[in-house]
Amino acid sequence: MHYNWLVLAIVFIPVVGAFFLPLASRVSLRFRNIAAFVLVFSSFILSLKLIPLVLSGKTVLFTREFILGFNFTLLADNLAVFMACVSSLISSIIVLYSFGYISHYENQNEYYCMVVLFLGSMMGLVFSANLILLYLFWEITAITSWRLIGFFREKNYILKADKSFLVTVFGALVMLIGFINIYQQTGTFDMISIRWLLKDPISNIAVLLILVGILSKSATLPFHTWLPDAGVAPSPVTALLHAAVLVKIGVYVFARLFLVTFTLPDIWHTLIPIIAATSAIVAACAALIETDLKRIIAYSTISQIGFIFFGFALGNTLGIAGALLYILMHGLAKAGLFLCAGIVEQNTKIKDITKLGGLIKTMPITAVAFLFCAFSVMGIPPFGGFFSKYLVFAGALEARQIWIGSVFLFGAFLTIIYLFRVFNLVFLSEAKAPLVKEASPVMIFSVALLGLLSLFSGIFINYPSFFVQRTVMQIASVAR
């Protein structure tokens, strides 16, 4: 019983608390900021408390019955707890960074409310074990991200926000049709019941419909272009959207549905890697040509998401483990990159990397943090990204997908090249714009923390990898 309340608290502390933040600002702005951080951070702490339980092989299930199969069901298993820890950790750091970043702008109440609500609904999505509940939380994240992208009220920005909203909601509606398709086969939306009722692989049309939703949320080709456009948002938001939470929703739901709940027809084990590979390469190419700092990093996210999809779609132990570690490593590193980009952009007021240069002299900490995170994304040891990349490749070769594996290898080459292009142009080459000072201490602290976490997650890989091993074992035990 105790753990049931824990799961409810993880979801509803931020969801409900978010709406009290505007009230908190009446007390003082500082109080509101700290309250926002506490709400998000408490999710993280409470998620950590679930780790011992799930490691011992137990799960938490909380159910309230409703009519028509719309049961309110929350399930905390290894996969969910892993995802919850990763997203709430990164969100906490991002909220911390926002203290410095957002303090110059108006509508801060809206900002904090939306960010916390976003994280809360993400938590709800992670733990929900009912397709309709999952869909509900999914749409709440879409609405909050729509507000956050359009945070600066210029016309052009609003249009970009609308674009991302339309694309992801279109995908979500298609996915909903897929869910209904499943309902027609089984008579329930409850994932655990579906797992026992559906012995055969689900129909190809249902997979296709659900996949449209997942790909549009995870910004994968051909539904990806809203993500670079979302770069108009305030930087912590892009970081939050891209790296930690939003794009990971898609891959998480992919794992939740297609690894744990349904069985995929065989053809998708080849088709999804092909989609993922195309997405990884096209986005990496775009990252090499683009000159806008945040757009480059956004394209890089699309490219890396391809690796995660690939790992999950392979469906073998190594691939899934690689993809899970990838979610963690990429989340940390990419959040770091975005926050560094935010510092550079806010201080120089320049987005075009060809007009920047030489910033390592005046911003050494930001530069080093950027480099550390970049190394992790490239997969250079001793940074964390090395292990996730290796495991994905190992999974590919175990499945004997040598050709698609080589395409991803090429994608990894491009990753090294475009990240160095960015780093050199922004931090090393000759200064083309006046050199500016470092950002406020709290912002520097956040990026340095993310850089160091990228390093330590590689050196102390045994801790996350132990958790991942257990998760993979659990997935293998429920998958047929």
Binding site: T225, A394, S429
Partner: protein
């Protein structure tokens, strides 16, 4: 418990490096002190472990990625050699680097590199090896980038080339692990079938690019110009060769069953031969002391790869012995280059000359190392080259020809270098140049003496270090030390060396200067055009690769923009077109709406009537 001692060669330099990085700027010689203590301790530990066989393992990542280290005669030999070079070059750097920028970083990266290389050599798990192997990249980037203003470009070039080849190796390791069912190096022994060959090639790409072979070489000459000089003596000249050739030997002898009948063997020998010839051709025409040496650092790898590629015991022994010898004389040569740079202020050969009197000890060390690299008896290079010739000739005259032509050009270019730097007339501004300080001379002298000892008493390294690597079974009772057995090869070598000397004398007589002694080759018809292009980086595989990537990414970007057009323009316009017609019906006119409603009602009634 004693097996934990295996962690020391990794921990000592790593800790030293971190401490050196964190020492305050104003603490005097503290960082130098820390660094010297770290390399000394490392030397003591590796030497004291030399004869031991140790194994240390602890679980780490899971999925077969066990943190296992293994010390046996081969790995002990390599880490002792790296410790030897690490100590001497650090000793040298303390004086050489004095007064330069970013000293903390220099010492830190130097030591961290040493730690990672020790880790890579000791590792008994392929992924752990890669972890250390690829992990040294970040330090390498730093070491080159601190060299000067534009040095970061070279650092990036090195990083991209090595990073990409290391990713190939990652792929190869994953494949090897799948084929063998284990990642523990000492348990793997795979046949070279189709997938096996692919795995071999991927691992080989990593190994030879670390060693600096073509086509992964092009950052080395750039680094010679940009990076701090001790880096060149430390990494491309010594440690990277040791590491790369170590891995190449491991994969050829242990991980895969390489034998002379495989096409892999032919491929290795071809890469080796091409590297020898092309790199030495480039070395020949260089006008800068360090850059000339850097091309030799590439060319000499060719001999090692050729030797190992023969897959014959004599060739492999020769290749390994050459690896040791090359590390010795090449680092010695770079150190003499550093002494010249420090004292005369330049390494441009046009500004040097006649330094023999001012820097006699440097000159003698240079002469010993130059004779050794040219393969003159009784220096060490002669013996290893003879072994490689022996193996190459057995596999095909064309490979032998490449090796021997390479030797001719090597000798010619060192005659040119020595003549231009140390002989001839001294320029006025160099009149007061002094001999380098003792701390810089000592490492050179030690290494030069080792070159002589390893030549005259070659039984010492070959019998104790190198023959055990192959093992009794492969050797079949043969011994490869002592004087060369094939008199024909020796005679040819001597003729070629004499020809190189004559060629030099001819060039000097014709153009009147040591520097221009090979101009008749440089500006030979046809060759001069190729040289011109090569100097303009026309053939640089890195540049070609980047251009190719650029073209590909433009295509990819086009696809991306096309998709975006569908969202931003096509969908919007389509919607507008579709709704446009309907919008026209909504005129705002009441009578029109009434007409529509009546029409609708009419259809409803029609429908209802029909359904009755």
């Amino acid at each position: 418990m004693t097996d934990k001692i295996l962690l020391l060669p990794i921990i000592i330099p790593l800790l030293g490096g971190l401490l050196a990085l964190l020492t305050p700027k104003k603490s005097g010689a503290l960082k130098e002190g820390i660094s010297l203590i770290a390399v000394l301790l490392n030397l003591v530990v590796t030497f004291s472990l030399f004869k031991s066989n140790l194994y240390y393992a602890l679980p780490w990542v899971g999925f077969g990625l066990e943190f296992s280290l293994r010390l046996y005669h081969f790995s002990a030999f390599i880490i002792s050699a790296s410790a030897f070079f690490g100590f001497l070059i650090m000793f040298y750097s303390v004086v050489f680097m004095r007064g330069k920028q970013f000293l903390n970083q220099f010492y830190a990266y130097f030591l961290i590199t040493l730690a990672f290389i020790n880790g890579a050599v000791l590792a008994d798990n392929l992924v752990i090896m890669l972890f250390f192997w690829e992990g040294s990249l970040a330090a390498l980037f730093g070491l080159i980038a601190i060299g000067g203003k534009g040095a970061f470009k070279t650092a990036t070039k090195a990083f991209i080339i090595l990073g990409i080849t290391d990713l190939c190796m990652m792929f190869g390791i994953a494949l090897t692990g799948q084929l063998a069912g284990t990642l523990t190096i000492s348990n793997i022994n795979l046949p070279l079938n189709l997938l096996g060959s692919l795995a071999f090639i991927l691992l080989m790409v990593g190994a030879i690019s670390k060693a600096g072979s073509m086509p992964f070489h092009s950052w080395i000459p750039d680094a010679a110009v940009d990076s701090p000089l001790p880096f060149m003596a430390f990494m491309p000249a010594a440690l990277e060769k040791l590491l790369g050739i170590y891995l190449l030997t491991r994969i050829s002898l242990d991980l895969f069953k390489l034998n002379p009948h495989t096409w892999i063997s032919i491929m290795l020998m071809t890469i080796g031969s091409i590297t020898i010839i092309l790199a030495v051709m480039m070395a020949l025409i260089q006008k800068d002391y360090k850059k000339l040496l850097s091309y030799h650092a590439i060319s000499q790898v060719g001999y090692m790869i050729l030797g190992i590629g023969t897959a014959l015991p004599v060739g492999i022994i020769g290749g390994l012995f050459h690896m040791v010898n090359n590390a010795l004389y090449k680092s010695c040569l770079f150190l003499t280059g550093g002494a010249v740079e420090k004292e005369a202020g330049s390494t441009d050969l046009a500004k040097l000359g006649g330094l023999r009197k001012n820097m006699p000890i440097t000159f003698v060390c240079f002469a010993v190392a130059a004779l050794a690299i040219s393969g003159v008896p009784p220096f060490n290079g002669f013996f290893s080259k003879e072994l490689i010739y022996d193996g190459a000739l057995e596999r095909g005259w064309i490979f032998y020809l490449a090796a021997i032509v390479g030797s001719f050009l090597t000798a010619a270019s060192f005659l040119k270098l020595g003549h231009a730097a140390f002989l001839g007339k001294i320029s006025d501004e160099n009149k007061n140049v002094k001999e380098a300080p003792l701390a810089m001379l000592l490492p050179m002298i030690v290494i030069a003496l080792t070159c002589i000892i390893f030549g005259v008493f070659n039984i010492l390294p070959i019998k104790n270090f190198i023959q055990p690597i192959l093992g009794e079974a492969r050797l079949g009772g043969h011994n490869f030390y002592g004087l060369p057995t094939n008199i024909f090869l020796v005679v040819v070598t001597l003729i070629v060396l004499a020809a190189a000397l004559l060629n030099h004398l001819f060039g000097v007589k014709r153009y009147g200067s040591g520097l221009k002694a090979v101009d008749h080759i440089h500006y030979a018809p046809g060759l001069s055009w190729i040289y011109n292009k090569a100097e303009g980086r026309f053939f640089d595989p890195y540049e070609i690769g980047l251009n190719l990537v650029n073209v590909i990414s433009r295509v990819g970007y086009g696809i991306d923009r096309g998709i975006d057009w569908i969202y931003d323009k096509f969908t919007v316009n389509l919607t507008l077109a579709l709704t446009g017609g309907i919008r026209k019906l909504h005129t705002g006119n009441f009578s029109v709406y009434l007409a529509w409603s009546l029409l609708g009602m009419f259809f409803v009634i029609l429908f209802l009537l029909r359904s009755i």
